[in-house]
């Protein structure tokens, strides 16, 4: 039974998850640890001076405050799953330094659900962003959970794609709610693993994504509530991302990227690592291509990936259909010049040989038809990427 002492142990700073697990395995109740002499524990576990002091300091917290801390979590809908509970992810149980407790808001990944991590650079290209979105979307459509770090760039795009799939299937289910629900495969959920307290939204610009995740998926963190984001916390949370997943897809990464840390953890934990290949000259493909060179799988499409992973053999057909676009001749000309890497007006003018008003008119009508997106000021891409997924 989880009591306030479990909450206390989870939130104890300095001591690693590994030490906490060992400490707890020697004693019946967390309460015992709260009351024991720190010197005694030090002798039992070989704690360092610093760890002992942290423990001693933690034990001085009055019981009323422990109560308050637990109440705070319960009041704010923050759940805690500790190492000993059966819901605790198996993938994390046997890693070198498992988190002692996992805080979560929203849902918590079920052991039975397949899960894939989609990670990559924060300062990514539009192409990378769209690719990650598409991968997230297709994975979720096939009922696979998407795990990522809720960071800017690729991570956020992966979540966003999955959330779109979720809303789409929910809408479809809602439309035909007279029919038996079983006919509709449930879309995979998406979970964000944070490097700060569960109630802190970092980056602040992802407030909407955060709220959506809480509502339609879940956010997870090993750090106690209200922990401020600090650079040193983020590499560590990556072990949770890989631990929760059956495999990791790296979409875009520079030579030195946090996503590569996730890939390292995944290999350490015996998980599959796949990388989306890129041009060798692109800075944002250096990391991913190097992974491939080191033996990572090459990501070609979600179907191919899932087959390789032996996760599914019969998955749902993509709901994105290659609908024939009915475009006028000049629209087709402009559309054919566009792809997933953003092009500005000058390039389009040179490539299409149209005049400025003609080009703008065509772009405007294409935009209205939903075929293209303006990703930056006067930079356009195709909005659909149906040919690859």
């Amino acid at each position: 039974m989880k009591n306030k002492y479990e909450y206390w142990l989870s939130a104890l700073p300095i001591l690693s998850g590994r030490k906490k697990v060992r400490m707890r395995s020697l004693h019946q109740e967390a309460e015992e640890l709260y009351r024991m002499k720190p010197e005694e524990l030090q002798a039992q576990l070989g704690l360092t001076e610093k760890e002992k002091e942290a423990l001693a300091l933690g034990q001085k917290t009055p019981e009323s405050e422990l109560e308050e801390n637990m109440e705070f979590c319960i009041q704010n809908g923050i759940g805690l799953i500790s190492y000993w509970e059966k819901e605790y992810p198996k993938g994390l149980k046997n890693i070198y330094n498992p988190p002692y407790g996992l805080y979560f808001k929203g849902a918590f990944p079920k052991a039975s659900d397949p899960a894939i991590a989609v990670v990559g650079a924060r300062n990514c290209s539009v192409w990378g962003q769209k690719t990650a979105e598409q991968i997230g979307f297709r994975l979720a459509e096939c009922g696979v959970s998407v795990i990522s770090g809720m960071a800017q760039g690729i991570d956020g795009a992966g979540h966003l794609g999955a959330l779109q799939a979720l809303s789409k299937t929910e809408a479809a289910a809602g439309r035909r709610n007279t029919e038996p629900l079983g006919r509709f495969q449930e879309a995979g959920k998406t979970y964000g693993v944070l490097g700060c307290g569960i109630d802190v939204c970092y980056p602040a610009s992802h407030r909407r994504l955060y709220e959506q995740l809480v509502r339609q998926g879940g956010v997870i963190s090993e750090y106690p509530p209200s922990t401020r984001p600090r650079a040193m916390l983020f590499p560590q949370r990556n072990r949770i991302i890989s631990g929760l997943s059956d495999g990791v897809i790296v979409v875009e990464a520079r030579e030195k990227s946090g996503a590569l840390i996730t890939a390292d953890f995944a290999l350490e934990q015996g998980k599959e690592v796949y990388a989306v290949p890129g041009r060798i000259t692109d800075g944002l493909s250096q990391g991913t291509n190097r992974l491939i060179r080191q033996g990572a799988g090459i990501f070609l499409s979600v179907e191919d990936f899932l087959k390789e992973m032996k996760l599914f053999t019969d998955f749902m057909k993509s709901s994105v259909k290659n609908t024939k676009l009915s475009l006028e001749k000049s629209e087709r000309l402009v559309y054919s010049c566009l792809d997933l890497s953003p092009k500005n007006l000058d390039r389009l003018l040179t490539e299409t040989m149209l005049s400025i008003p003609e080009l703008m008119e065509n772009l405007e009508s294409l935009r209205k038809k939903g075929c293209i997106l303006e990703v930056y000021h006067n930079y356009y891409i195709r909005s659909e990427v149906s040919d690859f997924a």
Binding site: V126, D346, M360, H377
Partner: protein
């Protein structure tokens, strides 16, 4: 004996006539000067005494009193030396008073009697003409400057003795001195500097934006990587502006005259100015300032282009000081001595990098994080950005395009279109006080900017889709108006609105990716 000589003083870019009186009487030898004088005018006493002596003129030791009136104006500047010297000589009976009548004198004098150049000659000469003087006597170095004013006789002064001889000759036979426009040819000349749009390859959108900006005198912001050609483009914009009218050129020449930089206008009297102050410029340097305020860069670019490169590096207070004069087209500097008004009707062109490294949105090269980019953009205040009517990207070109031999439109061709569009604007606005589309007040938008229903619908949609501000909405209409004028269309059509949206300002949502 008593004598009186005319001169003038410069206030802002206006000039006021001043009379110098001298009285010589018996008594203890002395030299007194009165009439609210600043220190440089007080020092004239010593210069004048030495100059007269060194010119070989011996004056009897008597009591000399010099008065400058009207007494309620503080006298500043160095142009008083020559008139004071002449007044003293005349009072001593060395120069007949009637030789000095009807002539305005100005000039600094050196200890050996030579006459040196003085600032602000042009406004003085203009004031003299208005007050009915037929002749001015100015230092030889300032003759060209004075010669801009039509219908006035100019006596070039070299040294004191020469001036005394010259006024005598002039008195006897004024027909020997022509009433001429010394630089008549220069007045007509319109020189185009070496920067020409023919030398800028590719960059169609940018060129089009320049044309629109020039036609409607809209302010423009260029965003682009270092070395993409922002400065060159800005200089080229000055070449597609039509030449100044006589009136405009004269007003600008006055500003340069007052700031002692007239020689810059001499060669290209009708060409519009192009000023690009360095980003370390102070607020006073930009807007004008000093105890006796001098015009700043803003006024020196009057009727022309003020180019601010590396906009994000400018001091915030320097940029904020521009806000009000950009609206009012004039800058008022208030000092205890009075209010100085300098005209400041400029077309502002700004240039900046899209992010700290300069490569955004090319993510394969730019490594700036979203927060870094946002901080970079936040260096410019919202109200300042709001005053930039057109925003356009400048992209670094591949070498092949830079050295391509393909002929590009020359500035003179573009200038013709700009002139036509401005002609249409003049006709439309008549004497409503508006001269360019960028100045159409919100209350007159409906009157001057009739729109096809299709265009109105398009605008409405865009307003909602792009979450425009009210200011952005009207800005779009004004730019669409200019585009329609360039296309000789009376109404604003859908295509004009669609095109105007290209140049809308940096809205953070599309610039910084979420």
């Amino acid at each position: 004996m008593y004598s009186i000589v005319s001169t003038a003083i410069v206030c802002g870019i206006q000039s006021v006539l001043i009379q110098v009186e001298a009285d010589v009487c018996d008594g203890m030898p002395a030299f007194e000067m009165v009439g609210v004088l600043s220190s440089e005018v007080k020092e004239a006493k010593e210069r004048v005494k030495a100059a007269i002596r060194n010119s070989g003129i011996r004056l009897a030791p008597r009591k000399v009193t010099v008065n400058l009136y009207p007494a309620d104006i503080r006298k500043t500047g160095t142009g008083f030396d020559l008139p004071i010297a002449l007044a003293v000589l005349s009072a001593h009976g060395r120069v007949p008073q009637d030789h000095l009548e009807g002539i305005l004198f100005a000039g600094e004098i050196s200890l050996n009697g030579e006459i040196r150049a003085a600032g602000g000659i042009l406004p003085m000469v203009l004031a003299a003409k208005e007050e009915g003087k037929h002749t001015v006597c100015v230092p030889r170095e300032n003759v060209n400057e004075a010669g801009i004013v039509k219908g006035i006789t100019i006596l070039p002064a070299d040294n004191l003795n020469q001036v005394i001889a010259m006024v005598e000759t002039f008195h006897r036979s004024p027909e020997k001195f022509q009433t001429s426009n010394i630089i008549e040819e220069t007045r007509q000349e319109f020189s185009c500097p070496e920067f020409d749009f023919a030398g800028i390859h590719g960059q169609k959108v940018l060129k089009r934006a320049c044309e629109i900006a020039a036609a409607g005198r809209h302010n423009m912001l260029m965003v682009g990587a270092p070395g993409a050609g922002k400065t060159m483009t800005a200089q080229a914009v000055a070449t597609i502006l039509p030449p100044m009218t006589e009136e405009e050129a004269l007003e600008l020449a006055k500003i340069y005259s007052v700031s002692g930089q007239f020689e810059q206008r001499e060669k290209n009297f009708r060409t519009r100015p192009f000023r690009s102050p360095h980003h370390t410029v102070s607020a006073a340097g930009l807007a004008g300032g000093g105890a006796v305020p001098k015009p700043g860069e803003l006024s020196l670019a009057h009727k022309g282009v003020l180019f601010l490169d590396e906009l994000t590096e400018f001091k915030k207070e320097a940029l904020e000081v521009l806000r009000q004069p950009l609206e009012e087209k004039v800058i008022r500097l208030v000092r205890s001595a009075g209010v100085y008004r300098y005209p400041a009707d400029v077309m502002l062109i700004g240039a900046m990098n899209p992010c700290s490294c300069g490569y955004y949105p090319d993510r394969t090269r730019c490594t700036c994080s979203a927060s870094v980019i946002e901080r970079h953009l936040n260096k410019l205040s919202r109200p300042f950005l709001d005053r930039m009517d057109l925003t356009v990207e400048v992209k670094r070109l591949p070498l092949a395009e830079v050295i391509s031999k393909e002929p590009e439109e020359a500035s003179s061709v573009i200038r013709k279109r700009v002139q036509q569009a401005q002609g249409i604007q003049r006709k439309r606005f008549g004497d409503s006080g508006v001269s360019y589309n960028s100045q159409i007040p919100v209350s007159c938008i409906e009157e001057f900017c009739p729109m096809e229903p299709e265009a109105g619908k398009m605008l409405q949609e865009s307003f909602e889709r792009l979450e425009m501000s009210a200011r952005g909405y009207y800005r779009t209409i004004r730019i669409a108006r200019t585009i329609a004028d360039l296309g000789h269309s009376e109404q604003i059509c859908r295509e004009h609105v669609v095109e105007s949206l290209i140049y809308r300002g940096i809205d953070r949502k599309l610039w910084v990716m979420e």
